[in-house]
Symmetry: C2
Subunit: 154 residues, 2 copies
DNA sequence: AGTGAAACCGCACTTTG
DNA sequence: CAAAGTGCGGTTTCACT
């Protein structure tokens, strides 16, 4: 992973686009204080370098009918490479899995799941524990999303 | 929150744009199987209704120098409305906080934090426990991001 | 600063429930 | 009848040279 240090302009571009990626080149250039041309060249470069990896929309999960968020903390029973590989594949195959981290601490993995409702979550949960021999799964049901997917500091 | 049921076309539009929001109207329309005009009208409507809430870029956190992710599980000591309100404000004021959920279970809140490194995280941690009287904070350090911010099922 | 392309949006139908 | 689709075309705005 190449890691060219980003200067103030680059960071400023990234901050502006995280907030609103629909900005036109003209508005972006103005906002960061560069000429359109210079700004465009930097943007192109940031994309090429993989600093900017793509563009998505922010969606209203309630409106999409995916109003339930659950964090599942998992302790595994097996630790062979083959088993772990199979476990990962199995988890990633579930489209309800939004985040998936290997962590340090009392648990081995942290899985963020979105679902339509409790029934739907239970389906995911059963699949999770049915397909993999796990030591423990502790689920934390989200009661309220106070903040979700805020911008990465830049 | 009004929740008009979304039909197959709406969902298809949302799926396509979550994957790549830089799609042109022509390509989007073609992908979902609508005329450009109809597709544009639906898109405008989805935005107006707040189903699509905006547009962001996906960034490479390593390249941005924010390579550390930590989940902090918090149990609070106070439960008065005023205290909770102050607590929320205090947490949201920290730009390193990416997600912030009120949860059910052994803990009250789940805070996802990104930081440059352990030193930087410790700064955030000290601020968190310094500004608020908390019962417990348990931190899970992410060792590896296997998946991060995958698309919401639609 | 120029150019080709894309977004935007009204209009006149047609289609479907 | 109402709601949503299609295709056309002109103006404005944008990306990129």
């Amino acid at each position: 992973m190449t890691t060219r240090p980003l200067d103030t302009f680059d960071k400023s571009i990234i901050r502006a686009l995280q907030r609103d990626a629909s900005l036109s080149q003209r508005d972006l250039a103005e906002k960061v204080g560069l000429s359109q041309n210079a700004c465009w060249r930097r943007l192109t470069r940031l994309r090429e370098e993989g600093v900017i990896m793509g563009q998505t929309i922010r969606v209203n999960m309630q409106a999409l009918g995916q109003g339930l968020t659950v964090y599942a903390m998992v302790r595994t029973r097996h630790h062979s490479l083959a088993w772990l590989e199979k476990f990962r594949k199995s988890v990633l195959a579930i489209e309800n899995v939004v985040d998936f981290y290997r962590i340090a601490g009392d648990y081995d993995y942290m899985i963020k799941i979105v679902a339509r409702d409790m029934n739907d979550f239970d389906r995911v949960y059963q699949k999770l524990i049915g397909d993999n021999e796990l030591e423990t799964v502790t689920s934390y049901i989200a009661m309220e999303a106070i903040a979700n997917g805020r911008d990465i500091p830049a």
